[in-house]
Structure formats: structure tokens, C-alpha cells
Symmetry: D2
Subunit: 380 residues, 4 copies
């Protein structure tokens, strides 16, 4: 019987186009052309939609990967999923996490209690512009999430701890296309502002994950609830959108008793924007044992990576006191930076994947945010 | 024998000009015209030198205080020291802390172990523009710090936990004045940039405190070490500067066995920019007892206020990993916001006094920052 | 017969709260309690919705005006209309223009060719949140515009050269109110972003002016065209919105042969974002004579004031070449600053009223902007 | 006899890495490996020192040029000088101007009145960190400027209309190097702030040009006058600096009666920040004839390119009125944008090279800026 063995390697980047960390992993045989399944990273730059740091990183990493795999650049996406999140404000170290999956002969399933990391991927059907941020997108992302779970060998949604999704956004061209066919689109605002197409796309994708995992019943979902009913949300979906895409891409991370990985993943949600205990809960969920207090150095040495959202609360109150973040012209950047500090102050390191900055989301509960952690259970 | 009884009341502000919290304190008899000694607050706005939120707050608070004291507006400064720090990015709630000091008959000194909060104030001699950020300023601030300690009834520098200082900065006019007299000035850059007059003034003041408290021997000090030798610093000085001033103002907070205050102050320094444990150490220093882990609700209910600096490290490394904060066009605002998160994630509240954003300082050790905390020891 | 005699006085402001220019006008008898009808100004600050420079200016100017008129502060709005536009980026000098109107005995109407400045004001009916940015607002602003024309003594829309309008925007509270009554609102985005409530309110007001003046036939108007059909626009409407208001306020400036003012107003539109000739056309429209080339010093000495919008084009092309302004995180501020430069480079002065920064508007044609100019025809 | 024939081709860039315009020029035979002497461009991005748009453009353009020339990437700099200025705020179209120079047989010198465009280049001696912004740099840039004039075949400084210079700046490493050798450096501030190393380097280079051209006598120059005595300046130097360089590079543009180019260059300075007439003077200087008024379409069709600085005035007054630009946190970006508008409003196009944003400079007179223009005198 074949079992997954998943590894995750985190390399800091000296510049957006720095591929030396990946090359070192390749040289050391830690990633191979047939095991590399995903590159997930934070790139330095403005974090805006025209963030040239992120664009340059994307170009350079795809070129490197094409050479590594021995395929043309435009075929890289069939083999490796890229999730690059732009903007490293504050204490977020630019880095790339390489996810490698190999299939190894396993003597049989482990004890059901000792579940280990698995990863699965799937593409969605093409998503039309008129479906962005609406039920069309929600259903197609839900279907792709189910397929990615199958690819991961996961059947119980409780074993899913992180679902990263990339979906098409809207562009001037795609809006024109939809309207020329007599369709409407969810927004004409192409930004990540509160009524922007970018957040509608992200939130449609999040609700798709929530539907697939049963976090939200399909009967509660409709075009009207997207970015209106914040009680509907996923606790494990981290989503992003880009105008250039036509299909959704889904990567599911979970734990399985079939896995022989040395790693385990867990997750939790923060209850509000300053909730460091929520971050600690995520570490515990992944297998670090520090029941009442703080992780110590030995614990933190076993921590492989943290993935966190830092969505800005829609309210101007945190624990009953007013903050002015919603009024801040730089709220997008500051909101992301604050999530980076919340995580770093707990993990004692700055190489954390923290994305966000938008206001309100179906990614995580109202006011709170999703934190997933990967921990090394055994040494290689 | 007369002993100090010091109280501190923290009121959130709904707008920069909101004096309703002070009025409520006055109405309740908690502050009186002859007990109000200082107003220390964070005001919402840009945090820049032309932050109209801060300027408006200053005007409105002085007007209110003048009426409260029954004195003309331009005499308010003789009675009450104002320290208003502009900019509440992220999770810093705009607020005003009123410090009230009364002299009460005391039966005799308490047990030397049970020291309580005292406060003292002093003005410095006039500081000429050519002295700003140089030995002239350092010596005059040191002298005023010694006087303020005397006013507080403090003799041992170890009992001093927070020294807030306001000094004159440079202006186009004061530079012209100095140069017309054949003098030079420390900088022609009027900003808070790394060679700006603003940070030279603040750092001259910090070294003055360090000299008075013996944290830095006078023999180590010279014009040349200011903003050059970062090994010289104070662990308790929080300083600011303004072009409009001619004298320095110093407020010393410490603990004394002569005090009958219900409050105690303590302080610590963070070892680097993400060191939440440094914040917890400050709470312990002030008297909260949570030896190994985290403060609980009962502990935090006794916390009256936190004062923290959030100076940006001069290095681009935090615990061996690169961050891009030094390159960030919004580093000043983000740096301050990050300090706010570090404190709030520990205190569980957002009404913390956090100033900073500048790069490097003699306020606190290289890379680390000062945190002072005031804790209620006994209920009224 | 009574005729209007309108004067306009422009005073630079040293700070947001500077009322010394107004006091000097009052002391000189140029403005009187019964002649002051409007204060229109640019205030320094961020230009954002929580611009404390603008808020402080509003408070200080209303207090001054209340004293000047001898009425309580909350009655000032009945007598004097305030239009304060926040943000003076670049080469826009903070200033206040005081508009004074007196009724004088006139021997009879002047030659129809020699029309002079008149001003008229009107308030609209209360505008409900569900009407903001929709036909409800459009019709009510249209009605108030007609009344303000009547107050000005204007009957021909061709004689109207500038209509300044302030209308209610949406707030969290007013949205809640509308939805609790089963109504919908035009946007949940409270910003001035492309789908923000702020621009919907401004554009509803602009279409109301366009309807009143016959620039757009009522039959072309519906909820659906607002911020969708940019071929519908006014060439004279400059509008703004604020959450705190419940009624619209309209000030109409035009020329009348009944007026004995020493001033005349004119206007033009720029054909695109760099069209300096459009600014010159506005000066010519108001009566400066420089048929083919450039105004000279004598011409410019007769120029009293310029009012200009600087709406950012919705296209990323100017005269066939790509610009990146739409992608700029600071587009709002830069867009306003660029309008200030376009005007200043023609007028040779920086005390121009320039508002804008938003993307697309029914205030002016697609890509172009409105410019109105007031010129002194005869010396006092 | 061999004469220069210089051409300049301006191509808009669709992205920072867009080389399609250059490829089209190459394909059309307009630039050849042995005629391409310089690429001068504006790249989109933040304009800050870590502007990834500019860095990516530099990488991509050097790679393209290496292939075009058939040399390794690290030898490109020996053949082609790159001047890439980051940041296209407002109405500045990202573009690349390719400068091609060929040597053709010429029948003899033209009429001395009909001077045409020539170009010359030279590298300076290595400039040590301790020389940056001081006499060492000034003298070495002066020497290189004289050599570049020689390369251009120019002897009379009056024939020089534009000198573009790139010099080494300071870095953390180079400061350490200097100080380890017992030397001091001009600043520890690595920004382009008013006391930053970046502006000292730029201004040292500008004074070097001024010295070479006799605009400033050597006897007036000393370390002390740099960024202190603004009466010393060049009217033709546009300089930039980068930490990675060790030598200065100089490109001189001028007119010569020996040239058979179809182009001519001219220049002028604006008298202040809103002086559109200064821009028009530059066009006239290059050979457009519109004596009193405005250039018409036929004139502007002959305009090949404009190079302009947009240095922010050190005073807060423009023509006697206060502006707030010096206080603006975004002054650097806005200052550059305003220069772009001033030029575009005159040229009627947005593909202008406009750099600047810093405060005060020896590039141009106090408050004013340099504008150079290249005009086509005869059709190909």
C-alpha cells in the first residue's frame, strides 16, 4: 500500500527573485521534480495589486521551477501550485515554503490517533466573470475542494486544517465580456476595498470551502449572503484571487492516519484581533504540548511553519474599546503587519505566512482570524 | 508627616477634542484643580509633526484645563504637564491618562518592601538651539531629572521607573537664530528621520535622563556619541520634542516607601521587537504575580496603565531573520502600530500609551524597547 | 428696485483654525453679519474622511461665525453655508473664500450683455439613507437647485456657472436605519472608493444639478445610471457629502443683468487630465481677454478666484498613453494635487479651490473636469 | 571626416520588464549593437530605494541588451549606459528612451548656427565612500564630465544642455568600510531625506558638473557648501546615485556644428515650482518657434523628448503664498508627480522623463528646476 509522506521546507528570500533557497533544497535532494507540489510564499513589495515584487517573484520562481521540472514555463502550473502573497510589512520575513509529497510503501495504517500531514490538490471548472463572488463560484470551489480532499485521501472534514484557494477575480476585460453577454457582475470596483471585486472573489471561494466541509449548509447560501452575513464562514479557508486566472485552484492540507509524514498540521481561530491565545491554540492543535502557558524553545524548535490570516475587523471596537484602524488610509498594510506581530510574538520567529489586510471576510469568524500550524512530530 | 497619594485615571477619547472623560473625573471628584499634575495621552491623527488631531487635542485640553483650574490658558503649563503623543495606528485606543497627586497625612513610612507610586516634576533651564541633541541639552535635562526626583521624594535611581521628558526641538527660526550667532546646529533636517533634529532632541533628552540616573557615566558622554553609540541608553526615559518649546519639562514616576498611593509602577525592556516576554516582565515588575506563564483576568484587572516605546530596530534582522521594515515608506506608522499590538496582545486591552516609530534611540537598548506598567495594589 | 451686489474675498489660512483673515475682513467692513452668505475653503490635512484639519477648521470657523453673527453655534448653518474641502496636497494654499451678498438700490437693469455675479442658496427636503445616490436624492437636489436659482434671480440655466452642493452621505447608523425599515442602500462601502457611498452621494447630487439645469433630461435618469453612464453629467456641479447631514444644501453662482456686482463668473471644462487650455477657457469665460495665447499679469490681477474639480479619469490612458494613476495607493491625494498644479500653472498663484481625487464622476465629462473662475470686472 | 549622427527613440513600457519597444527598434534597424549608447527611462513602481519595479526593469533590460549586443550581462555596462529613474506618479508614462549614435562621413561642418545633437560618455575614477557628497566626488565627476564632453566633441560649455550622472551612494557596508579606515562619511542617513546620503551623493555630482562647465568656480567649492549654499548649482545636471556602484558614469548631451543629427537639444530652468513658462522656454531653446504664446500641434509633433527635474522647493512659499508640501508624508511622490503635470500640461503628452521629489538640490536654482528638450529639426 502507498502512503503519503509530505515535507515542508521554509527558506527566507533575500530578494523577490531569490531562488537560492529552492536550489539548495534541490541540490540536497529534499525536493525533486516529481515531489514538489506547491510553493507558498510571502514576497516583499507593496502588497497592492500592482506589487512588482510579487510579480517579479512569480516570474522568477516559475522560470526556476520550469528548469527544475524540465518543462516549459507555461506548463509549470500543471505540476506545482503557486500561492504568492505580496507584502511583508513589519515583522514578516519574505520566504518561500516548498511542499513536497512522495508516495512511499507503508506497512499499513498507523494508529488512528497518530494522524500525520497529507496534501491534496484539484482544479475547479472554469469560473465565468458573472459567477465571481456568487453561487456559481461557491459551488465550483466546493466541488474542487471535495476533489482535493479525495486527492489528499481525506474523508472527514474534521481532518482538514487548511485549504488554500486561488480563484479568478474580475478585470475590466472580464466585466466587459460578461456585460456583453447580458450578464451582471458582483462589483465594478476592482480593488480590495469593502465592496471590491477582489474581496467578493476571495469570499466566494471561502464560502465554497465552507460548503464543501459542511461548515455552512448549502441551504444557507445564496448570492445575497456573500459579504453580508458574516455568521457564515470557514475556519480553514485562506483564499486569494487574480484577474488573470480562469479556473480555481485548491490545495488541501490535513492529517491522515494513512500518512507517514513526519509532520502534523493543526489550526485554531483567534477570537479577536489581539488574541495571542488563539495563535497558541493553533500550535497546540498541531501537537505542541504546553497546556496552560507558553511554548518553550524545545516546542518552538519543532514548529515548521505558521499560516495566518489577518483580516481587519469590521467593527471599530476591540474588547469594548474604540480603535481607528478602519479609518486609516494605510489600514490594508497595517492590518497585515499587525497579524504578523501577533504571530511572531508567540512563535518567536518572523518567517510566518501572514496574509490579509482586507476588511471583513468569510475566512474566519467575525473579528477573528484563522491560524494554521505545521509541527514536526518526528525527526528525519 | 505628609505623604504622596498618587492616582492615575485612563479615559478613552471619542475625538481629539473630547474632554468628557476629564469632566467626568472632575465631576466625580477624582481629579481636583490642586491635585491634577499631568495629562498624558495618545491622540488620533497622522502622528506626523503637523498632526492636526494632536494640535487640536492640545488646544482643547488646555482650554478645558484652564477652566478647571481657573487660570488663563497660557498659565496652564505651570500647573499641569501635558504629554500628548500623536498617532494611534492599529490597536491603540485614543485616550488621556490623568495623573493626580495629593499630599496626605501619613502615620509614617510603610515597610520598605511595599513601595508605592510617587510622581515629581521639574522644568529645565532654557535650552538654546545649538544645545539641542548635544551636551548642553544632556546636562540640563539631567539637572531637571534630578530635581524632579527630589520633587517626587526619590533618592535611589533604582526606584525610578519612568521619566517622561519634553524638550525643545529645532525649527527653521531657531536654526537661523543659532547660526546668526555663529553657532552650529546638530542637523538641518527637521524631520524624525535617522539624522533629523527631532530624534537628536529626543535622544539628547534620553541621555540626560541616563546621566542623572547613573545609567551612563558622564565621562562616556559627548556630542559625538549622540545617535552614534547605541550602547549608551536609558531604560526608563520616554522623550519627545517640539519646536515651540524653550525649556525642558520632566515628569518622574517611581516608587517610594513614603507613598500611600494605591498604585505601584514597574518597568522592563524588551530584548527585541517581538519580545512579548519583555512586556510581561514589566507587568511583573509593577507587582503582578504570574511567575512562569501568563497573566489571568484577575491580574489584568489590576493593571491601570502601560507606557511603552516602539522604536524601530536599526538592524534589518530580528532573531537572525531579515525584515523589510527599515525600507518601508510607512515604517514610522507601522513601527508604532506594531508596538501597540505587542502590548495589547499581552494586556488584553487597547488603551495603552505607545509612542515611537523612529529608527534607533537611546530610549532603551539596541533593538529593544522600554515598557512601564502601573498596577493597582489595593482597592480604594 | 433691489439688486444683488456680491463680493468674494480670499484669505490664506496659517492653520486650520486660523480666523484672522475673516476677522480682518470683518474689521474692514467688507463682510457684515447680514451680508455673509457662504464660506468656501480648502483646509490643510489628510483630505480623508477623518481629516482632523478639516474638522477643527469647521469647529473654529463656526465658532467665529456664531460670534460674528451674534447667534448660537448651532444656528450658524441657517445663515451661512460652509463648504470646506479637506486636503491641500502639492501647490494648493489653504484658504477661505468669504462670499458676501448685499441688496442695493439699483437704477434698473444693466445692459443684458454686461451680466454680473449673483448668488443664491436653498436647502433641500430631508434625504433618507435609501435615497442617497439614487433618484430620490437626484430629484430633491434638482428641486433645491431650482430654488437656489430663484434666490439668485436666475432663470436661464446658461447663466449658471457653478453649483456647490452638500448632501447627506451614508453612515453605519443610517444604513442600519434604512435596513431596519426594509429598505436597501446604494453601497455598504463608506469610503470614496469607486463603489463607495461617498461617491454615490456626490454623483447623485451632481445628476440632480444636471437635471435642474436641463443638462440631462429627466427621462435619461434612473437609479441604474448613477456611476454607470458617464455620458450623463453636469458641467457646473461641484458636490460633496457628509454622513452627519440630513438635508442637502445648494449654492448657485451665476451672472445676471440685474446684478451690480463688480465680479463676473465663468466656467469651462477640461477635455482631459492635462488640458491647461481648459483652465484658460474658464478664465476667458469669466471675462479675461487673451484670445489666442496666455493671460498676462494685468489679466491675472483681475482674477479673484478659481474653483476646480480634479476627478481622476476612469481610463488608464491620457491622449493615448498609459498612466499608472489608477493603480496608485495614493491616487486620491495625488489626483487632487495634480489638479492644483494644472490650475496654478495657468493662474500663476496657488490660492485655488481644487477638490477631487475620486475616480470618475458625473461632475464634468468623462476624463475632463469642471473649472469655474471669478473675475473682477470693475474696481471698487 | 567623421561626424556624429544621434537619434533618440521613446517607447512606452507596458510593464517594468517590457522590452518589446526595444525589440521593435532593433527589428526595424533603428538601433544596432554598435550604435546603442544609452537607455534612459522611467519605470513604474514606488520610486523608493527598494522599488522592485525599477530593479526588475534593470534586470530585464540588461538581459535584453546583453543578448542584443552578444555580450555577457556583466559587460553590458561597458557598452551602454543605463539611467532608470523609478516612480511614475500621476501623469508620467513609463517609457524607455534609446539613444543611438553612429559615426558617418560628413562633407564638412555645417553652418555654425545650425548645431545638432551630439552625445558623449565617460566613467569617473573610483569614488571612495568618504568622498561621497564631498570634494572628492565633486572633482572626479568634474573630470569625467570634461572627458564626456570630449567624447561628444564639445568644447564650449554653452553647447552642453544636459549632463546625466550616476554616482555611488553610501551603504551600510561602505560606511563601515570607510569608518574602519578611520574616515568619516557625510551622513549616516541612507534615505533621500534632507540630510540623507542619497541627496548628498546627487548634489556632489551636480556640483561636479557645475565645476566642469564653469557654472561654479572651483574656488567656491568645499565640503561645507554641499547642501548648504543653494546659490551654487548647475543648470544642466541631472544626477542619481546607487549604493551598488563604485565609479561615476556621465552622459553629456549637447549641440555641435560638427553633428549631422536630425535632432537638437536645448534647456531652460523654471523660476519656481509652478512656472510653465520655464518649460516652454526649454522647448524654444531646442528650436521650437512660438515666440509669445503656446506651441501648436505642428510644434509639438517635432518634440522628441523632455527631461525634467522636479525638486521640491526648500521654502514653504510659492509666489508669496504658503503651501504644505514640505510637511506632506508623501512629498517625495507628490513632488515628482507635480513636475510631471507641469511638463505634460505644456507638451500635451505624458511620455516625459521627470525625476525628483527630493527637497532642495544643486540641480537647478533654488526653487526652480531644470528642463531639457530634444526637438526634431529635419525628417529622416
Amino acid at each position: 500500500m502507498k502512503a503519503q509522506r509530505v515535507e515542508m521546507f521554509v527558506s527566507p528570500s533575500a530578494t523577490p527573485a531569490d531562488t537560492s533557497g529552492l536550489q539548495a533544497l534541490a541540490d540536497a535532494g529534499k525536493i525533486k521534480p516529481d515531489t514538489l507540489v506547491a510553493l507558498v510564499g510571502k514576497t516583499e513589495g507593496t502588497g497592492a495589486h500592482d506589487d512588482w515584487g510579487r510579480v517579479w517573484a512569480d516570474v522568477a520562481l516559475r522560470e526556476w521551477t520550469a528548469k527544475f521540472l524540465g518543462v516549459p514555463v507555461d506548463e509549470v502550473a500543471r505540476h506545482v501550485i503557486f500561492v504568492l502573497s505580496g507584502g511583508c510589512p513589519g515583522v514578516i520575513t519574505p520566504h518561500i515554503a516548498a511542499v513536497a509529497r512522495e508516495w512511499v510503501d507503508a506497512p499499513g495504517s498507523s494508529d488512528g490517533e497518530d494522524k500525520r500531514l497529507v496534501v491534496g490538490r484539484a482544479g475547479s471548472e472554469a469560473i465565468a466573470p458573472e459567477e465571481v463572488g456568487r453561487m456559481g463560484m461557491i459551488r465550483k470551489v466546493a466541488e474542487a475542494t471535495r476533489e482535493a480532499m479525495k486527492d489528499a485521501g481525506l474523508t472527514d472534514p474534521k481532518d482538514v486544517h487548511l485549504v488554500m484557494v486561488k480563484v479568478p477575480g474580475l478585470t475590466t476585460a472580464s466585466i466587459k465580456d460578461a456585460e456583453s453577454r447580458g450578464k451582471t457582475v458582483v462589483s465594478h470596483d476592482l480593488t480590495f476595498g469593502p465592496e471590491g471585486a477582489g474581496v467578493y472573489a476571495n469570499d466566494g471561494a471561502a464560502l465554497g470551502v465552507a460548503m464543501a466541509l459542511g461548515e455552512v449548509p448549502e441551504s444557507s447560501l445564496s448570492d445575497e449572503v456573500v459579504r453580508r452575513n458574516w455568521d457564515l464562514y470557514s475556519e480553514v479557508a485562506m483564499t486569494s484571487s487574480g484577474g488573470e486566472k480562469r479556473h480555481g485552484e485548491v490545495v488541501v492540507f490535513g492529517n491522515s492516519s494513512q500518512s507517514v509524514s513526519p509532520l502534523r498540521i493543526g489550526h485554531a481561530v483567534t477570537r479577536d484581533f489581539i488574541d495571542a491565545e488563539g495563535v497558541r491554540s493553533a500550535l497546540r492543535s498541531a501537537g505542541l504540548r504546553f497546556e496552560d502557558g507558553l511554548p518553550d524553545e524545545a516546542d518552538l524548535n519543532r514548529l515548521v511553519h505558521v499560516f495566518a490570516k489577518s483580516v481587519i475587523p469590521g467593527s471599530d471596537q476591540v474588547r469594548g474599546r474604540r480603535i481607528t484602524l478602519l479609518d486609516d488610509a494605510h489600514a490594508y498594510e497595517i492590518g497585515k503587519a499587525l497579524g504578523g506581530m501577533l504571530v511572531a510574538s508567540v512563535t518567536g520567529r518572523t518567517t510566518n505566512y501572514v496574509s490579509g489586510g482586507e476588511r471583513n471576510s468569510h475566512q474566519g469568524p467575525p473579528g477573528g482570524n484563522i491560524v494554521a500550524a505545521v509541527v514536526r512530530i518526528e525527526e528525519d
